[in-house]
């Protein structure tokens, strides 16, 4: 039976306190100035793809988001390139509703049943109008799943599912609107609660399980009021509810159902049954059964470890500047150049895949790849190798207060890789006062800047999280 073969999650490093926004408890996760839904999807996908079981070769990539960096240009192609998946993949972008994350997961399982191996990444940067509930209650995060059918051992099988679609005006955003709007929540609840009760019951029936059999229930949706009248008719006990991370992450749009499922899987044992419901423009419910393979299938980072690794004092004005909500005085430096299409195409395996060239003659690593080796000058005699997951550290560094950045100073570091190779690159997710020579780093996929509507993606280094 088809199911989840591997999974991964990503929560960005920065948190903003709700008290700094104007009220409320806890904090929300905020993508850094150099992140977007595509770059965060890459981070979560790297987690999911790190150690695939034998026989699992991804041939399909789906990216789900309501904050896709490009409205036209395939965001899933960025995901494919940055994770070094083969160019023969089928790739698609999904969006339009925060339910698209769970819908994509279900669609991916259907494709897996048809013999495909599918990477589904759901990711969102949720920006609400200043002082509104979406700004305060939203969060930024990503989740990724590799879905497989026959021939791969899943860590969680899909045992039942049900859906419902409703044409209703609940949350909407049309082109040109800077922020999404939501109709009065009491109205939404009156429509969605009965639909959820019904759809949930159908899914349990499909899976052949009772509500009391569920070890965990993930409830996600645009409208928290929907769930108030749901628990009792559904026969659920509040103790079964998965933590929705409202106080630590916030609702991460299309990623949230997947992120909460990932968190449930982090703590699941073989035999556990987990139901996931997402309520937005209708309802999707999936029921999973965790298998014995779970203990070998967990990612390097749990959701809890991402949440625990943070800087939690992001200033509100900085946050608004990062999200392009608040205009600000630019540095007295030229705007960065728009990267050009042909050079990006030629350098794709470096820029996106982060492959270096290892000299076949002397073994030296050249970053970026070189035709002529910098050590022995051997020409056109090297092998491309991945460096994104390689251990590396700071050889030396400087704080550049003159360079263009949304978060000055730019920290420029000379980064040496343990398996060879050196590059000069920017550090991110780091306190400038705490950088030291010798610090261990890891590479992270980022959006360096946007110029002329072109997002310039490349890799930076960050302290290990």
């Amino acid at each position: 039976m088809s199911g989840i073969v591997r999974y991964g999650s990503y929560v960005p490093f920065n948190r903003i306190q709700r008290s700094a926004i104007g009220g409320g408890r806890g904090e929300r996760a905020a993508a850094s100035y150099d992140e977007d839904s595509a770059s965060m999807a890459v981070e979560a996908s790297r987690e999911a793809l790190r150690e695939l079981p034998e026989g699992a070769e991804v041939d399909t990539v789906a990216f789900a988001s309501t904050s896709a960096p490009y409205t036209e240009k395939l965001n899933a192609a960025t995901l494919q390139a940055a994770t070094n998946l083969p160019k023969s993949v089928t790739a698609l972008d999904l969006g339009g509703s925060t339910r698209s994350g769970l819908s994509a997961l279900l669609a991916g399982i259907d494709m897996a049943s048809a013999g495909r191996t599918v990477l589904v990444a759901a990711s969102d940067v949720v920006v609400g109008a200043p002082s509104g509930p979406r700004e305060s209650g939203g969060g930024d995060a990503a989740a990724a799943f590799v879905l497989g059918g026959n021939g791969t051992e899943p860590i969680a099988r899909l045992s039942g599912r049900a859906s419902c679609t409703e044409e209703v005006l609940d949350v909407w955003q049309s082109p040109g609107m800077p922020f999404a709007k939501q109709w009065e929540e009491r109205f939404g609840a009156s429509i969605f609660t009965p639909l959820l009760v019904d759809t949930f019951a159908r899914a349990l029936a499909d899976a052949g399980v009772a509500a009391s059999d569920l070890a965990r229930v993930v409830l996600d949706g645009t409208n928290a009021r929907v769930f108030r009248g749901f628990m009792r008719p559904a026969g659920l006990d509040p103790a079964q509810l998965a933590d929705g991370m409202a106080g630590t992450v916030g609702r991460a749009g299309a990623a949230h159902a997947g992120l909460t499922l990932a968190s449930a899987l982090d703590g699941a044992a073989a035999g556990d049954r987990i139901a996931v419901a997402c309520v937005a423009d209708g309802v999707d419910v999936a029921v999973f059964e965790v298998t014995e393979a779970i203990d070998d299938g967990r990612p390097k980072h749990s959701v809890a470890s991402w949440i625990g690794s943070k800087r939690d004092d992001l200033a509100y004005t900085t946050y608004l500047k990062w999200r392009d909500v608040l205009p600000f005085e630019p540095p007295r430096r030229p705007d960065p150049d728009r990267p050009a299409a042909p050079p990006m195409q030629r350098a794709e395996r470096w820029k996106f895949g982060f492959l270096g060239s290892r000299c076949n003659r002397c073994g030296n690593t050249n970053l970026p790849p070189q035709r002529v080796c910098v050590v022995c000058q051997a020409s056109d005699d090297s092998t491309m190798e991945p460096y994104a997951d390689s251990e590396c550290r700071i050889s030396t560094y400087t704080l550049d207060r003159l360079a263009y950045s949304l978060q000055p100073p730019v920290i420029g570091a000379v980064v040496d890789f343990d398996k060879g190779g050196r590059m000069l690159c920017q550090l991110t997710d780091v306190d400038p006062d705490k950088v030291a020579i010798g610090d261990e780093l890891e590479m992270t996929f980022r959006r360096l800047y946007t110029a002329g509507g072109v997002h310039n993606y490349f890799w930076k280094a960050r302290p290990r999280r």
Binding site: R333, V375, D400, L402, G412
Partner: protein
């Protein structure tokens, strides 16, 4: 390296140099007219006498028309060239080799840069269309890597290191205060240098060279013709230029305490000029003090100080105007300013004045051999020029 050199075969017989600074009311064309006409006058020649021109500029114009148009040069060869911050020196080198070859008898090397029209801080360059993966670090950030690396390697505590960098800035401003063509003609108190706003790493604004507009020019001929034009010509002993393979940016064994490109260009120049002991034989030098730690490292790469000793020599006053081996007597990039394409020629202009005893208040006693050093790029990835000139 196998440069044979042209020691004593080529002479400089006239020079011109504008004041460097913020010339809001002067275009690159205006600055070129000023510098070139001053050089014509200095050599006592008419424009018709010049057979060919080399014009160095990194971004203030393209093609030879940048020079021929404002000066109305009458259908002569004008080569426009660029080699980052060493552009002005490259103009001299190419012009000198042209007369040495016998192809021309009298040529000019000219440099110009108009930086203050951009409205931006620091240098701005226009790179070719790229893939967007460059580090994006600025020049002060790249050069700031030298200071902590040097301090670490030679056991200099960071407070002392700060004093050394401040001493270099202080010295160059002291010299520039005695130069009416310098951008900044004031001494700067040590406390002000120490507390200037931070730009990159340890470097404050007072560790950085001046961003300025300016132009300079030299009239060059073969040595045997020199006295036709000028009773006091100066002679080229060596011209060396190196473009590195960019090893330091890619190899883990590079430690940011030296420029291998400078070491090699200096070695080559000393062979050409027959210099065996640069610390003793070079009377004075104009070096590429784009940022204060650059000058420190250059003192060792050029062989003026043993490895690990330049910071002591600096503090002991060896490189002061009245020291044993004055460095940047005209104020250097720090105080004279750094209009990129003009800087290499400005360095030579100071050699011209000093060797001919025309440096006024900052005249060095009886200099015999001078050196200019010009660098472009960043530690680990640069080009380097060294010349030796004398009487």
């Amino acid at each position: 390296m196998a440069s044979k050199g042209i020691c004593d075969r080529v002479a400089i017989v006239g020079m011109g140099c504008t004041k460097f600074g913020e010339h809001w009311n002067r275009s690159a064309s205006d600055l070129l007219v000023d510098a070139v006409q001053e050089a014509y006058g200095s050599a006592g020649i008419e424009p018709d006498n010049v057979d060919a021109y080399w014009l160095g500029t990194t971004g203030s114009g393209i093609s030879g028309l940048t020079l021929s148009e404002p000066l109305k040069i009458q259908y002569k060869p004008v080569t426009r060239l660029e080699n980052m911050c060493a552009t002005g020196s490259e103009a001299i080198r190419n012009a000198a080799y042209a007369v040495a070859s016998g192809a021309y008898d009298l040529v000019m090397a000219v440099g110009v840069e108009k930086l203050k029209d951009s409205g931006f801080s620091g240098l701005t360059g226009s790179a070719p269309p790229g893939d967007g993966t460059e580090s994006g670090m600025t020049a002060p950030a790249n050069f700031s890597l030298l200071a902590p690396a040097y301090a670490e390697k030679y056991g200099v505590d960071l407070e002392t290191m700060r004093d050394v960098l401040t001493k270099i800035a202080y010295k160059n401003h002291y010299n520039g205060a005695r130069n009416e063509k310098a951008q900044f003609q004031r001494e700067v108190p040590v406390e002000k240098i120490n507390s200037s706003p931070k730009i990159a790493g340890m470097l404050g604004i007072m560790d950085c060279s001046g961003v300025s507009d300016g132009s300079a020019a030299a009239v060059i001929c073969r040595a045997e013709d020199a006295h036709k034009y000028n009773d006091n010509p100066i002679f080229i002993k060596a011209l060396s230029f190196v473009a590195g393979p960019s090893e330091g940016a890619k190899r883990q064994d590079y430690d940011f305490t030296t420029f291998p490109e400078v070491v090699e260009s200096a070695r080559d120049a000393y062979v050409q000029a027959g210099i065996e002991d640069p610390r003793e034989q070079i009377s004075m030098a104009e070096v590429h003090d784009c940022f204060t730690p650059t000058e420190l490292v250059l003192m060792e790469d050029l062989g003026f100080s043993p490895r690990g000793q330049a910071w002591k020599d600096t503090m002991d006053g060896r490189f002061d105007l009245d020291g044993d081996q004055p460095v940047n007597p005209d104020g250097g990039l720090k105080s004279f300013g750094h209009p990129i394409g003009a800087s290499g020629l400005r360095m030579m202009y100071e050699m011209w004045l000093q060797l001919r005893g025309e440096a006024g208040e900052r005249q060095i006693a009886d200099p015999k051999v001078g050196l200019t050093h010009n660098l472009g790029g960043a530690p680990g990835r640069c080009v380097s020029f060294v010349s030796v000139v004398g009487l």
